[in-house]
Amino acid sequence: MTDQKDSLITIFTRGIIKDNPTFRMALGICSTLAVTNKVANSIAMSLGTTFVIVCSSLSISLMRSFIPRRVRMPIYTIIIATFVVFVDIYLKAFHPDISKQIGPYVGLIITNCIIMGRAESFASGNGPIRAGLDALGVGAGYTVSLLALASIREPLGFGTYLGYTVLGDWWEPWLFMVMPPGAFFVLGVYIWVLRSILPVSDKP
């Protein structure tokens, strides 16, 4: 898949900008749109997802020579699901309010195509260090895009940032922004701006 000569730094930074999962490749959109109405939820979600990507990439990379080619998909899924259970239990124990708000979307990290994509295209063919760095980069890219979306939606929609009022009393909360259509529009505009600045070479 990837050129073996890629330096470790390239592997890491590629996930943040050039191959940013959400903005550039339009992967993992479900959770992106659903949790970005509040910054706090986005932070929880992106940390959880990053944890799952890194752990599953590492384990898959370590086990890559033992996993039979034909049944690799179910095995990847089980590995990913196991780490998602960790995240879910952690959130329920230490951040019950956030867990209540994003509820089932934590479970849906399993079907986040970013994770499966990294496992299939990178971790299954590379050593643990490279796979871990790649996963960290993609996780960071995902975090950046979630924060970018939430930082627009929460202030405009609630007049707050991380729960603190930032826009004052004169601001009439733009309820539209925290409703589903607002999510689609903000993401659409982000994709538009980024593609205009950095055109995508090959069509996804």
Partner: protein, 193 residues
């Protein structure tokens, strides 16, 4: 009556794709033309119904009595993956025509979050068995309606003059936003959680 409300809510007011953002990846990737979208929506509705028919008893009769609810993600995703495999094999043997129209989409469905989403939502909302079945059929149809509408719009869009950077996923997002606004109009119709 209660069942009717759940059904209508699943199709319109709580549309899987446009209100809960589930199944977005295939929603964007497969909505290029109408035929593919039709195959995909059929396959999704079918597997969704089967999946909730199997996972509901598993959760309430097996996981709850043994206090291992936290295993639900692992169990559900395994059930879905296994179901998809079985359905694919059965359809391939029994009906080549159906296989041609729907078969290629089946492997993609394992990673369609709408399926897992439906099974998780039906647990969270504490639906009974019948309610869960109605809910999953409705959700499948609702997802299908959304992707078919999107595919029809995108077919027309080929002749439109879209700005360079907005082509592909960008414009799809904007259209999905407009559609979501339309579906929000249904919200006044029913009052369910």
């Amino acid at each position: 009556m209660e069942l009717m409300i759940i059904f209508i809510a699943a199709v319109f007011t709580h549309n899987m794709a446009l209100t809960y953002f589930l199944g977005m990846c295939p929603f964007i990737a497969v909505s290029g033309d109408l035929r593919t979208a039709w195959g995909m929506s059929m396959a999704v509705t079918f597997v969704m119904t089967l999946a909730s028919a199997v996972t509901w008893p598993l959760y309430h009769k097996l996981l709850v009595p043994y206090n291992v609810e936290y295993l639900q993600y692992v169990v559900f995703i395994l059930v879905i993956a296994a179901l998809v495999q079985i359905v694919e094999m059965v359809i391939e043997r029994s009906s080549p025509i159906l296989y041609n129209s729907m078969g290629v989409f089946l492997p993609l469905i394992t990673v369609n979050c709408a399926i897992l989403g439906v099974t998780l939502f039906m647990i969270v909302r504490k639906y009974t068995y019948i309610e869960s079945l109605i809910y999953s059929v409705g959700s499948g149809i609702g997802w299908g309606v959304a992707i078919l509408a999107m595919a029809a719009i995108r077919e027309k869009l080929r002749f439109a003059n879209v700005p360079e950077g907005l082509k592909g996923p960008g414009i799809t997002m904007i259209i999905a936003g407009l559609m979501a606004m339309g579906f929000m109009g249904f919200a006044g119709m029913l009052n369910v959680q």
